[in-house]
């Protein structure tokens, strides 16, 4: 990876952090409603894995902490922010909100609020890739908490039996909402759990993007090479609560402090400085340009975009232009009476 790519990656991660923190502010101003789950602290995982994937070609799917996965997959950040604002220009036309970002134009197939539901959907996307005979793969990002759903076990089994081209990325941030992993899960090393399904797996540091990229490269090569699914676990930590309504009373200040020292932006920034690729001044300038972009372009777009029309309430429930050959109504000639 050359220096310009390294600089771009650091800027991307800074951008993702600022995007999330700015949406926190908009939430406090009540411009964003509902539930808001922020990705701050886990940026190296989605950024590193998707850097090694073929975004726009491969399918990407995740849970409700989905803004950054969508953006790195190729969804325009303006549209993601407009979705948080519930606007017609949003990724999901204001109908989905924070937890349901979709952009099928880049094969980002959604954020889902049901924990563990994306497992089978991801395997289905992979089944479609295999059926069409393309070299696409499906990448499913979920947290450690999702692995206690039945869908985890059912899907791992089928993905393995059918050798589906799907990469399961487990972002182990140690907490299932507010319950620490060792209090809810018999086997805390998540990568060990898929051994029961004969799926190769590995565990890595999720805070160091270089480690993430190296691990993802191998995992993606395995899956794209037709060898079936792979399960990759990254140890990470969310810096904010599960959602905005989180008391955060279940974690110790000491634990939070230790993980803040392992902030992925800090780790990568220090490395680039040490390698003389960037100076403190360069990083400060990067921060400034990110803040300006978010304020002047992204927030402005979201603020100025129109609301969906209430008259369109029933739109998108079913296919709005159905073919009468399949739908009907039944003609007189088709009636028996």
């Amino acid at each position: 990876m050359n220096a310009s790519d390294q600089k771009r990656l650091l800027r991307e991660m800074i951008f993702y952090r600022r995007f999330e923190e700015r949406s926190f502010e908009a939430y406090m101003e009540r411009k964003i409603g509902g539930f808001l789950h922020l990705y701050s602290g886990q940026e190296a995982v989605a950024t590193g894995v998707l850097e090694m994937a073929r975004c726009g070609h491969d399918y990407v799917i995740t849970g409700y902490r989905d803004h950054i996965h969508a953006i790195k997959a190729g969804a325009p950040p303006r549209e993601v922010m407009a979705e948080l604002y519930g606007k017609e220009t949003g990724s999901s036309r204001g109908r989905g909100g924070s937890m349901h970002i979709f952009d099928p134009t880049v094969n980002f197939m959604g954020g889902y609020a049901l924990v563990g539901q994306p497992f089978p959907l991801a395997a289905g996307l992979a089944l479609a890739c295999k059926h069409k005979g393309t070299d696409q793969i499906a990448i499913c990002f979920l947290g450690d908490g999702a692995n206690n759903q039945g869908t985890f076990h059912e899907t791992m089994n089928m993905a393995s039996v059918w050798k589906l081209p799907v990469l399961f990325v487990c972002e182990n941030n140690l907490y299932a909402i507010g319950t620490r992993i060792d209090r809810s899960t018999a086997v805390t090393d998540q990568y060990k759990r898929v051994a029961a399904y004969d799926i190769p797996s590995s565990q890595h540091d999720g805070q160091d993007i270089d480690v993430v990229m190296a691990a993802a490269t191998n995992a993606i090569a395995h899956v794209r090479g037709g060898k079936g699914p792979y399960f990759i676990e990254f140890m990470t930590y969310r810096q904010r609560g599960h959602s905005m309504s989180d008391s955060n009373a279940y974690r110790s200040k000491e634990e939070e402090r230790l993980w803040l020292e392992r902030d992925p932006l800090k780790i990568y920034g220090e490395r680039l400085k040490k390698a003389k690729i960037l100076t403190d001044k360069d990083i400060a300038a990067m921060e400034k340009s990110v803040l300006e972009e978010i304020e002047n372009d992204i927030i402005r777009f979201a603020e100025e975009s129109p609301e969906p029309r209430v008259e369109d309430l029933n739109k998108y429930c079913l296919d709005d232009k159905p073919d009468p050959r399949w739908i009907g109504p039944l003609t007189q000639g088709e009636q028996h009476g």
């Binding site: 399918y59 799917i61 949003g90 990724s91 999901s92 036309r93 204001g94 109908r95 989905g96 349901h100 979709f102 952009d103 099928p104 134009t105 197939m109 959604g110 889902y112 049901l114 539901q117 497992f119 089978p120 959907l121 991801a122 395997a123 289905g124 996307l125 992979a126 089944l127 479609a128 890739c129 059926h131 069409k132 499906a138 039945g150 869908t151 059912e154 899907t155 089994n157 089928m158 039996v161 059918w162 739109k315 998108y316 429930c317 079913l318 296919d319 709005d320 159905p322 073919d323 009468p324 050959r325 399949w326 739908i327 009907g328 109504p329 039944l330 088709e334 009636q335 028996h336 009476g337």
Partner: protein, 326 residues
């Protein structure tokens, strides 16, 4: 025009749609090598191979979810769930995912799946194999729900469901798979919307869907012998409901019986009576009557099972009550 069995009609629809479009696949428990519990996919594994006729493990929620995920990427899966009772395990992927993905993506993604499943009582299958549950699916926005009463609709509605871009739930019936009926030799599509007047009449309307249409037809024969002209309306689709056809029939006969094999509470009959009240309350000459199952889990004992489930005589008795003949 040949007379074929209900299961043969479903098998023919599968075969034609699999031949028509490589993107069509079928998946479910025992549908491939074993040929399907009700033979609805027999021989297709040999013809189309393991990649398109997929035998799944007993994991209803996730194999349904896999079908849904595949449909988002252009595949057209026909998903069989062996019994509607087992579909309860797949409600997360069916109702939380398939029914909502188009809407919550602002129309940018869609899930053109077909889920076929038999719902209904057969012969002493007891509580966990006798649920009907149509009422649960018909209350879910984002789904289409159809209930073919015979081979023609079983064939033609499945073909339409495969082509349609919405998730379609097809509710079959364990007691109908061997029922025979005429199906045209040439390819035919039957629409997924619209009730059908199966038998014209002027004195009373008997409304049914799925198996209960046959109870209505049998009751109509007995009524005819008594000099009463009963109209039988097959709803065909429970979602969306064809409100116009219900209104037209009630405006003609002014009297209604609704026959459902399911329990009555928050059910098909309650919905139809609401439609009638909203559409044509003043056309009614008598209070509508529902014929329905007892409000209990279906018992195993033969006599008790019989007592729990409505039959043609129950429909007849309800009609006579509405007609003021009792």
């Amino acid at each position: 025009m040949a007379e074929i069995a209900y299961w043969e009609a479903i098998r023919r629809a599968h075969d034609e749609e699999l031949a028509h479009d490589h993107m069509v696949i079928a998946m479910g428990e025992d549908i491939g090598v074993a040929g399907g519990t009700y033979k609805a996919t027999s021989g297709l594994y040999q013809k189309y191979g393991a990649a398109r006729i997929i035998d799944t493990p007993i994991s209803e929620n996730s194999y349904t979810g896999i079908g849904i995920g595949a449909s988002m990427a252009g595949v057209r899966p026909i998903i069989e769930i062996m019994s509607i009772n087992f579909a309860l395990l797949a409600l997360d992927t069916l109702i939380n995912a398939a029914a909502k993905i188009r809407y919550m993506s602002g129309g940018r993604a869609s899930c053109p799946i077909v889920m076929r499943t038999p719902g209904g009582t057969a012969h002493q299958l007891a509580a966990q194999h006798s649920a009907r549950l149509a009422r649960m699916f018909m209350s879910t926005p984002g789904l289409r729900v159809v209930t073919p009463r015979g081979p023609l609709d079983a064939y033609g509605m499945l073909k339409s469901a495969v082509r349609c871009n919405d998730p379609v739930i097809i509710i079959e019936h364990e007691s109908m798979y061997n029922m025979r009926g005429e199906v045209p030799d040439e390819e035919t599509f039957r629409p997924l919307e619209g009730a059908e007047v199966v038998r014209g009449g002027t004195d009373i309307t008997l409304i049914g869907y799925n198996y209960s249409v046959h109870l209505c037809l049998a009751a109509a024969d007995k009524l005819a012998a008594m000099g009463v002209s009963a109209e039988v309306l097959d709803l065909r689709a429970l979602r969306p409901i064809d409100r116009d056809s219900i209104r037209r029939s009630v405006e003609k006969t002014h009297k209604v019986v609704i026959a459902e094999e399911d329990e009555a509470t928050v059910g098909v009959g309650s919905e139809i009576i609401s439609v009638i009240i909203e559409e044509c309350f003043f056309a009614l000459d008598a209070q509508p009557v529902r014929v329905h199952a007892a409000d209990v889990p279906v018992p195993y004992n033969r006599q008790m099972e019989k007592a729990a489930i409505p039959n043609a005589d129950d429909v007849l008795a309800a009609a006579l009550k509405v007609l003021g003949r009792v």
